[in-house]
Amino acid sequence: MYTLDLPTEQIVSHLKGGKTMDTYDQRGGMALKSACLLQTFIHAAFLLLSVYMLIYKKFFTFSVALPLNIKLSLGTDHLTVFFFLLISILGLCVSLYSRGYLRPYQTEKHFNAFLILYNLFGISLYFVVMARDIFGFLLFWELMSLTSYFLVIFEGHKDEILKSGLMYFVMTHIGTVFIILAFFMLYKHTGDIYLSRVNMAALSRGEILTALLSAFIGFGTKAGLVPLHVWLPKAYPSAPSNIASFMSGVMTKLGIYGIIRFAFYYYPQYPLSFGFILLAAGCISAVIGITHGLVQSDIKRFLAYTSIENIGIITLALGVSYISLSLGDRVVGALAFTAALIHILNHGIFKGLLFMGAGNILRSTKTTNMEVLGGLIKKMPKTSAFFFIGALSACGLPPLNGFVGEWLLYKGIIKAGADIGSTLYSVPVVVSGIALAFTGALAAYGFVKTLGITFLGLPRSEEAEKAKELPCLMVFPIGALSVLCLFIGVYPNFIVTFANQVTDSALFTHSVSQSAFTISAVGGNLSMVVLAAFALIFGLLVFGFMGYKAQRFGTRFYGTWDCGFDGLTSRMQFSGQGFIKTVNRLLSGTFVVNKRIRYTKGDLTSEGIRFDIHFDDNVEKSIYTPIKELVRIMTSRAQKLQQGFIQIYLAYVFVALILLMVFYL
């Protein structure tokens, strides 16, 4: 007799049709490895291509012939290559990150389909910015939207993820309708399907504004401008973190790409009203984005709202540029345009970094709810350090890269305020600068809360205590992006050169000049290298002095000051909601607060109280919910027409026939 040692689990799961992790470990996860390798190659190729094209200024156009006699024309110019740079930098890091992040997903049902869609999504981004005719653009735009929908709902066994995906799907297609309308007007005005500048002389103001507005609404839905942003805070937390990182860093910028194409390349007439629309949308998005983001307890939802805020800042910059150009001031126009471009690149880098960091936290602690985290800086030091750098970049603090775009934007606003003669136009621009300052300060508040509650202090739950640092494959891409943040922040000259090239191609002038270590714009200099050198040297002197004192007088470790109570627990720390209670109280009218208190009975003698609070989007509640209700009421009224009896339908046909005969004969 011999005993059989059967691998029971594998047999059972094989009979059930599923796969276990063992299967993948033996095969080494070939699908995942090859998919990520393919992505890495594509992105690296485009990165090298874009750097080559930017340095040597060689661009190309070509046509692709598809079956059914369709010819797509693709081409590159300065703006396209600038976006190549953004997509490839972030895509490279995300594909390296995905290799590690997606490993536990390998047993999911549709994982291979997910990988194919992920690759398609990455490729479609490049082709959207390369498209040079209307059909190509719409084809790749739809491809991008559809693939991203499936990527968002990958974990669709949870109900709310499906709902968020549905909202994203509906919103993006509403946007596509407006984009098609805008392209239709472009076709009408240019006379052919190739995307090129319109002959402005033949058009009336109303026609130009209609085209620009439909483009603005359509592309603004993808970009996430208020009030078309409601899908963002739902879709990003639902998507897997590498997808959210890629989407937030790149896909929303493609909405801005569309707006830039229409406003600055195809219809360069610069009607003033559109400039004010851009400015107002930017200010409102920035302020609403950050105020809603401040009060969130979920890290990914907070990051989604700060994405909305930064898109608002970029649109604000475009608005300042547009207004200046329409009032004849090309210097400020070019300056604000360059600021917008630099902020596009910088935001892609640090937001991608932050979302991947959030993915690390999710992988390590199984949650992104900051109310149950804490003390992660000691458990995950590398992720924490890189997340800190990304967060400080997002606040726009020197010497990191977020500051460069904001500096240029402030210079542009101040010069616009000085140059614009009439108070009527100058005051809104300056007030938008104040809105910018306000959102910057609130962003600092929000990031201090997120960083402090998540990473510092004591762990608030067991998962946070058991958190571990992640393998190198998931930490290295975040580290690379952090180093890039620091490098661009201290030495922004490369990025400024590239952005100047794009500004030259669009506006035929550029306003930001640079010398060895300085960038200067309209009479002000910024030399981060000199300032950082001063700070570093002075810092070293202080450090040396403190080290001398430390050697003489030492350090002693004790507990946190607890007034002699000796029973400090982690629940006695501040929570995230407590941290922003002041803002909650000040701006309580602008939020939709859902509070719930539940009493739970343990055994006969103990009773627990549970308090849940979460903040919903006010725009959604005040605009979208009434519209949904209206549609629901109208359709349920219209439903009374469908009684289900064929006799009644025949009667409808008869009545319609009589009416037609009466009216047309």
Binding site: G375, I377, L392, C395, L397, P398, F403, E406, W407, Y410, K411, I413, I414, G417, T423, V427, V430, G433, I434, A437, F438, A441, Y445, V448, K449, G452, I453, L456, G457, T518, G523, G524, N525, L526, S527, V530, L531, F534, A535, F538, G539, V542, K549, F553, G554, T555, R556, F557, Y558, G559, T560, W561, D562, M572, Q573, F574, G578, K581, V583, L586
Partner: protein, 308 residues
């Protein structure tokens, strides 16, 4: 090149040496107004020196943020103060960093102090940190509006050149706004009482509750330097004195002396305000900062008249 380095060093040493004196003046005036003899005006120097020679007691909950934060606060405050024109209407670093840089560098210092407050895992830190960030976000628009007015009026954002072409009426409104900003940023009454012992009413003190020894010395010094930055801003940019035409090292020392006199006068005004008012309720602070914003905005509108 060598001369520029000596100028840099001279301004640096002046900032570091003079800043604690102003805090001492405020304390002396407060104690005299309470009919106390009070400690000497140089007491802040003695306190900082004493703290440098004491042992640091650190909580075992804290991380590297607690160690970094005093350095960041100190270096950012000094960098901001170095950009203010002090030597005959000129500062070396002011040619490289301008007003926008200063706004953000102060925010950097504040962010690190707020993070360090949360680091120890105590309630006091979170409380002080959240209040400090809240006040900062309210006071930021007023400060930026003031810088916009100066920048739009003079056409430059470098602090060396911003004071040019200012008009008395505009500057009056901006000075009122900047006084309120100063009181909010440096935790003076009526925004925050720096001498309170009640944690319930602390804003800034609650953030540094866990610090001791040489780290606390750096933080105190950083606060005095930050206060001196705002005072020097008022003194040299909003109340500029004419160029007296003395050149060379004598001219530099004369300009520093004039700055010292102006700073002492401004400090006495701050102390007077501190003596005469009380700490407001926390949720009345938005009212105060709105007043600052309105004054700065009125200054901006008035500057339009003088631009022609």
């Amino acid at each position: 090149m060598f001369i520029k380095l000596t100028h840099l060093l001279l301004q640096l040493l002046f900032i570091l040496a003079f800043a604690p004196f102003l805090t001492g003046i405020i304390k002396k005036i407060k104690s005299k107004s309470q009919h106390r003899k009070g400690c000497s005006v140089f007491q802040v120097y003695y306190d900082i020196a004493k703290l440098f020679d004491k042992e640091v007691v650190k909580s075992n909950v804290t991380s590297v943020i607690t160690d970094i934060a005093p350095y960041v606060a100190f270096i950012t405050a000094v960098t901001a103060a170095m950009c203010v024109p002090m030597l005959s209407g000129y500062s070396l670093l002011g040619a490289f960093g301008d007003a926008v840089f200063i706004i953000y560098v102060l925010v950097l210092g504040r962010v690190f102090m707020a993070l360090a407050a949360l680091d120890a895992g105590s309630t006091f830190g979170g409380m002080g940190s959240s209040r400090e960030m809240f006040i900062a976000s309210l006071v930021e628009p007023a400060f930026v509006m003031m810088l916009f007015t100066l920048g739009v009026g003079s056409g430059h954002t470098s602090l060396n050149l911003m004071g040019a072409g200012g008009h008395v009426l505009v500057n009056t409104f901006l000075i009122v706004a900047l006084f309120i900003v100063l009181m909010a940023e440096t935790s003076r009454i009526p925004v925050d009482d720096p001498a309170t012992h009640l944690e319930l009413t602390m804003v800034h003190e609650a953030m540094i509750l866990e610090y001791s020894g040489r780290q606390l010395a750096l933080i105190h010094w950083a606060n005095t330097v930050k206060q001196f930055f705002f005072i020097a801003f008022i003194a040299n940019i909003l109340l500029p004195t004419a160029d007296l035409g003395v050149s060379g090292i004598g001219g530099l020392l004369l300009s520093l002396g004039i700055l010292a006199v102006k700073s002492v006068l401004i400090t006495m005004v701050i102390a007077f305000i501190e003596v005469k008012s009380v700490k407001t309720r926390f949720f009345s602070i938005p009212n105060l900062t709105s007043v600052a914003f309105v004054f700065a905005f009125m200054g901006f509108l008035i500057s339009f008249i003088y631009r022609g």
